[in-house]
Subunit: 354 residues, 4 copies
Amino acid sequence: MSNTFGNILKLTTFGESHGTAIGGVLDGCPAGISIDFEAVQHELDRRKPGQSKVVTQRKESDTVRFLSGIFEGKTTGMPIGFIIENEHQKSSDYDHLKDVFRPSHADFTYQQKYGIRDHKGGGRSSARETACRVVGGAIAKQMIPNIKITAYTSSVGNLHLDKSYQEFDFTTIEKNTVRCPDIKMAQQFENLILATKKQGNSVGGIITCVVQNMPMGLGEPVFNKLHAALGSAMLSINAVKGFEYGSGFEGATMLGTQHNDRFNEDGTTKTNFSGGIQGGISNGMDIYFRVAFKPVATLLQEQEFLTTSGNIITQQNKGRHDACVVPRAVPIVEAMTALVLADFNLLYKTQKTI
Amino acid sequence: MSNTFGNILKLTTFGESHGTAIGGVLDGCPAGISIDFEAVQHELDRRKPGQSKVVTQRKESDTVRFLSGIFEGKTTGMPIGFIIENEHQKSSDYDHLKDVFRPSHADFTYQQKYGIRDHKGGGRSSARETACRVVGGAIAKQMIPNIKITAYTSSVGNLHLDKSYQEFDFTTIEKNTVRCPDIKMAQQFENLILATKKQGNSVGGIITCVVQNMPMGLGEPVFNKLHAALGSAMLSINAVKGFEYGSGFEGATMLGTQHNDRFNEDGTTKTNFSGGIQGGISNGMDIYFRVAFKPVATLLQEQEFLTTSGNIITQQNKGRHDACVVPRAVPIVEAMTALVLADFNLLYKTQKTI
Amino acid sequence: MSNTFGNILKLTTFGESHGTAIGGVLDGCPAGISIDFEAVQHELDRRKPGQSKVVTQRKESDTVRFLSGIFEGKTTGMPIGFIIENEHQKSSDYDHLKDVFRPSHADFTYQQKYGIRDHKGGGRSSARETACRVVGGAIAKQMIPNIKITAYTSSVGNLHLDKSYQEFDFTTIEKNTVRCPDIKMAQQFENLILATKKQGNSVGGIITCVVQNMPMGLGEPVFNKLHAALGSAMLSINAVKGFEYGSGFEGATMLGTQHNDRFNEDGTTKTNFSGGIQGGISNGMDIYFRVAFKPVATLLQEQEFLTTSGNIITQQNKGRHDACVVPRAVPIVEAMTALVLADFNLLYKTQKTI
Amino acid sequence: MSNTFGNILKLTTFGESHGTAIGGVLDGCPAGISIDFEAVQHELDRRKPGQSKVVTQRKESDTVRFLSGIFEGKTTGMPIGFIIENEHQKSSDYDHLKDVFRPSHADFTYQQKYGIRDHKGGGRSSARETACRVVGGAIAKQMIPNIKITAYTSSVGNLHLDKSYQEFDFTTIEKNTVRCPDIKMAQQFENLILATKKQGNSVGGIITCVVQNMPMGLGEPVFNKLHAALGSAMLSINAVKGFEYGSGFEGATMLGTQHNDRFNEDGTTKTNFSGGIQGGISNGMDIYFRVAFKPVATLLQEQEFLTTSGNIITQQNKGRHDACVVPRAVPIVEAMTALVLADFNLLYKTQKTI
């Protein structure tokens, strides 16, 4: 249950940060879809380490190798197995973590739960696992080519965009290191991240995701509401602390007369506080939501660690880390969104009257 | 998939707002648990309409009838079937809704998706369905008697509590109509709701939920992180727009040096920005989270409706409705929390080494 | 997991033999299907006790009450909840079973597994639960109206039909008490059952099931092969000991040259040892399979029981029982077949290329 | 759904017969189990081609490479990813199958369902996929070390063992090419298979499987009965046509007085027609069942094929094939049995009273 995501389109992932390889199986993808392999690798490149000065400098080419389920370039309806070999596996780099628990990391909880853990780079708890989600999401995007999913960095620390998504030119997003659609704010975000990095500190941020050209009817009425699935998908990403869609937490301060979206005669609405979802089901308007990321726990400065024998020691992390995870998380947010939407699109097919 | 919740402990619900009955099946509850039936009914009474002047005056006794799975007062390991008969079924009350879509309701999306809908009081999309969750949750609470789950209203409209949960006496919560642990703010919340009601309007609010005496080790590493499951559970409740746990959205503004929770030697932490969950797994500290509710869409004043033939008409809702859903949602939030925790507690049993 | 059946179309059942009621929830049924309620009740009547002299004389009208998911005669896509009240609940009838385990019953294993059991009439382990499957199956049949599912009694004890299904007139089946399409053999089956009954004994038998007018493409390649799902469905019925499809166990004695089904130019085959399924997927030919039922364990004669305190005592069962379960199991076999096929039909919709 | 097996312990497999690699993910295995890698490879060697003169001479070393979930020799509770590279991938060997459907193969049904298929060696429909099940099953065996699972060939064509399993010395099984515990019959089986092979024909057979030292309490009451899960597991293996347990089809001819297993005072039974399972739950007695395999469809002689353009042509298969699949299927039957039992053992842990 823990390592499989989805209802009909199911992504199962495996692998640890510094193990032999990470990989996954995407099951439930219909047959006959021509796979654009470059598009898949492009998504991985957006997530990979070392792509710019604001991200971790760990060396990984993150080259995906597909093993099954694709024949002469097309999906066959069979499970799509894939692996990404870990190139950086020097286990001695992590010897200093063997007998300590880092604060606000998963080290302590894994040890308590399982009685054993792969301490190298966080093992399974590392965000390296999300590379497999990006592969799955890249294929999911190709299953729903008409739907346009765009995520971007909307805040870093106390800096935040104060325009709504409609005011931005999304083509700007990939033109800066921080994936922000506002070129001026992008520079400020970058400066803040670099300054934070220089101090060996980390900083949180928020990603906004927008889904345009949404069909009506995706989502299930009760427990599997579309926004509940999106929320669960986002909250499953490392470092995420919150999710809101449409009016979100701001909506809790509003009156019904303000919040209700008045209809146009064609069924569209004049406002969209609903965020494209009513009663758990998409209404054809844009879906938009925000995802809050905490500052990552790994700092390149001295911190107090708990040892496995119950002492507090002061130690410094080694290695290469992101000072702000948000820019690299943008493609992950998009990937998880695509997996949810492609899955619910398949689910919807089962509900149409025979 | 839509009407079943949980992994091992599974709650399946059925029923429409003004149909014959609503009900459910709770499967996966271990054998041998003595059921406190009064405690179950007490939870239902906390959610039921007509309990105070701030909630809807619809008449429903909400008496649950258990049909199976309990023998001589104890669970048998067999599925627990139950029903709650709908007492208020005058279908003519809803004739005015037959051919219109109310704004920001599920009317329109249900019709688009299914081509048919039970228009009486919202049918399946009504929050009446949550009574079944409260029944399931009340039994779930009895499965994990040591864990203490407390929810309360922490904001209504622009009014909000500004203390942390540790500063409150939780016994105050059930002593006021709005379920707020601060007696002064409770009065202000009540006043705001009554004023809003008088205007035929509605208002949003926020519920805070705290889980104390949590065991370590609950939660799954990757897609089924404990907070992802809690988030999904909360987002599946009618009118919810957002979920955050621990530091939440505020955490996105922080630096790692502020946010990291320093360890004590016994494995507890000095601060708890993590919200009791690290790497998706509980660490034994309190879990706390916040759930944002929009103002309910049903207003007792004139509004624009879309007719099924594509015209905009102005009409007024009839009937009885909540001006603020938050006070009655408190037991629902607790119920869904209990279902998640009892389920993950069972799941954890499968992961302990043989 | 135990009380829910199906992938997309999911039937969850609950209830004990002499509890308040049995019932279920059918989830995943598409919207817009006009339900023929008489057809549902007709299927229940085929299964119900007291219908003829060869079956148990327990008094139950088995009247189903639908509670949700159907609006103005049509399915709405919402879960269909239903209950059947138990009319025969005199619990004192079963006091003699409270502290004993009957041989070859589930009494002993339930007690070992759960440490508690409802001893009245077998509780949840009674075949009474299958009435709910018949309700679900009756609706499933209406979801796939073009597919013709026919089951019949093909053997009782050492008596067996020796013709293939193509040689029978299926309209004969419901015209005799034992549901056999051969009128002469029907009389012999009846005589054997009545003689067995007179002796307070029971006898086993076999049901053959034939699916005609099958579409191609139902079934999943690897673990969820169509015949694996059918086999699991049949083996889940009380008293079933074996399942074979197509050539079955006889096929294990054959050579490839005998067994391979030669093609016609239109894709049909000259023989059908494959039983309509190749590689787990239907090929459009008739599906046929056989289900073996043991003699039911309840005998109306003295038997050795094990007491809960570990002694062997000799005692006689009371009450009313079937001497041969097979005639009443015919509609159950059909119901489970319909549930599998309607479910796989929905599943297939997700696999068609977008 | 199609490519994942199990409830708590879940095996997901991928890969085609002549693709890059086959592999899988075993999720849900508890942490802390020391993996005996030689034992895993040993099971693969029992299944692999080329191991003796009675099996296909295809060249594959079937070396498994574990990628994750095992740290310093022990399971970590994380998903265990693994691959087996396909060494024999000369695709031109299969050009003659590109535009034809072989009789009684999955060629036709895959093409009808998916509109595309990997024709090389049957692609996903090849029994090569079962190597991944053997890997999963080998680990599952190590999760339940006290349970002894033994399968053997009990019939080939019209030849069959006529003793019950208790009369055999199981150490004989691996000492002959056909995996038969009776040394004389083993020779006859081998002779029949070699003679069949010489004629370019194939022959069916039966595997008996015995589970000794079974704990009580495994299995779920209604739809997930232990024998239903075992039956589904067996029927999912390529070429299987039937499954029976305990008295099986023979039981259908018996009277209750013959079939009921009389108790001993310790809860064991004097006979075991129940096959170790009562009411779907294990009673601690040996489980035994029989699995019928058809003659494999691939013959090394001329046969009629259907072309994709609708003509019947006469053609001869090339390549290397098993004349009788049963000897190599013995470890597969054991592997699937181990997966079911290890899974139900975990499931049982969730049902014990808290």
